[in-house]
């Protein structure tokens, strides 16, 4: 479960891929399953890179909102996948 207190905002504006993904990855490392990360990006590449990174690493994209030149991608931290 998560609530707004568990949401970490990652400001990845002006950063070019893969930097937004790296920032999200570093934020996720410090969080428990169920917590959320909201990444604010300007590189449209993040719209595909963050979801792919989330998928292969077992996290879930909750929402993607694009406004003007900004993209806000919200991700929920998944359980550590077993080997």
């Amino acid at each position: 479960m998560s609530n707004s207190e568990d949401t970490i905002v990652v400001d990845a504006r002006r950063l070019l891929c893969p930097m937004p993904v790296i920032r999200v990855q570093n934020a996720v490392k410090k969080l428990m399953p169920g917590a959320r990360v909201e990444a604010i990006c300007t590189d449209p590449g993040a719209l595909s890179d963050i979801p792919v990174w989330a998928r292969i690493n077992g996290h879930k994209i909750i929402a993607t909102v694009s406004r003007d030149d900004e993209h806000i991608i919200t991700l929920e931290v998944g359980e550590e996948s077993p080997l």
């Binding site: 504006r13 002006r14 070019l16 891929c17 893969p18 930097m19 993904v21 790296i22 990855q25 570093n26 590189d43 449209p44 590449g45 719209l47 595909s48 890179d49 792919v52 990174w53 998928r55 292969i56 690493n57 077992g58 030149d69 996948s81 080997l83």
Partner: protein
């Protein structure tokens, strides 16, 4: 219960590392990918800046490979640590400013740290003997293994049969018979193996995995170091080298002029770090000034920027000059004539 052995694969996004990782999965090894971000990586970047390129979004090939192989991928930010590799490469540079051999040693060394920290057993790379003239030769393979400290824990599945047996082979974690003996510059064996594995699509190798192999980029980086009197850079510096037209009319400063809308927008983000110039009487580019400038230099730079605006043939062009703190002044200048712009200014 038999132990599940685990390998970390250096994933560049190209075909070779993809095949190497897959070859290990075929042997029942659990593989996760590592992708090192030095700041110079070709993946991403310019396509995200130029407006015309944004229409065809480019995927990150390392992520794509990981998804195809059903494995996790970890980006490792080595921007700061990589500086030492680039400034003082023990084995020298390649054709441009690419310290490939030192770079490989460094990445394997980082991978070794990673496997120790994450309790993985060995490292794999997609290296092939003879594939790259300087860094992928029979003589350099043991150098990388030795100087990185990985020694027998470094396995190259695509050419492993041509190399001495590594720990995963001698310990029976994998079967040497399942390795390959690829060598030389031909891509045919890789393509055949890709077909065998059912990979219909993969990224084509483009000569190098980073901008340091690119001659015009290396010229700009060398100029940056020369102008600063030392080999030094920050991430923003090396990003800016990928954008716009760079002119150094005087040793003290450089002008970065956007070539199209997307670049102009990108440069906007640097207005607090650099003095910026923008034509106001005519449509034109956004320009940044990097270095120390006198008021005379400002007028001089404004004339150059005016040259690249729609007002290039006008008698006077008006520009707004914005200081880093946001204060602005307007200046009116005669655009520089084309013959006044010296070839040697262009980087």
């Amino acid at each position: 219960m038999t132990k599940q052995y685990k390998a970390a694969a250096l994933i560049s996004g190209g075909l070779d590392s993809m095949l190497a990782a897959r070859a290990m999965q075929e042997q029942g090894i659990y593989v996760e990918g590592l992708n090192f971000f030095t700041g110079f990586c070709v993946e991403g970047h310019t396509h995200a800046i130029r407006k015309k390129d944004q229409a065809k979004p480019k995927r990150n090939n390392a992520l794509w490979v990981a998804e195809q192989l059903g494995m996790k991928l970890h980006f490792v930010d080595v921007v700061e640590e990589y500086k030492e590799v680039l400034f003082n490469p023990k084995h020298g540079y390649g054709a441009n400013l690419n310290p490939c051999l030192d770079c490989k040693i460094f990445m394997v060394e980082k991978a070794l740290e990673w496997i120790k920290e994450h309790d993985f057993d060995f490292i794999i790379t997609g290296e092939v003997i003879g594939q790259r003239p300087k860094s992928q030769r029979k003589e350099t393979m043991p150098v990388i293994a030795r100087e990185s400290g990985a020694e027998g824990l470094l396995l190259r599945p695509l050419c492993g049969k041509n190399l001495p047996a590594t720990t995963p082979e001698t310990e029976g974690w994998i079967d040497r018979a399942g390795l390959f003996d690829f060598s030389g510059r031909t891509r045919k064996p890789q393509m055949a193996l890709a077909k065998q594995y059912g990979f219909e699509e993969y990224a084509q190798p483009a000569g190098g995995c980073c901008f340091l192999t690119d001659a015009p980029y290396a010229v700009k980086l060398a100029d940056l170091w020369k102008s600063r009197g030392e080999k030094a850079y920050e991430l923003d510096d090396i990003m800016l080298l990928k954008v716009g037209r760079h002119l150094r009319p005087k040793p003290e400063f450089k002008i970065i002029i956007s070539r199209e809308e997307g670049e102009g927008k990108f440069l906007q983000g640097y207005k607090k770090q650099y003095i910026s110039l923008k034509t106001t009487s005519h449509a034109g580019p956004l320009a940044l000034l990097d270095g120390r400038v006198t008021p005379e230099d400002l007028a001089f730079a404004a004339r150059i920027v005016a040259r690249y605006s729609q007002g290039r043939n006008a008698d006077q062009v008006e520009l707004e000059i914005r200081e880093k703190d946001g204060t602005t002044q307007t200046i009116s200048v005669a655009p520089m004539a084309v013959h006044e712009i010296r070839k040697e200014w262009l980087l």
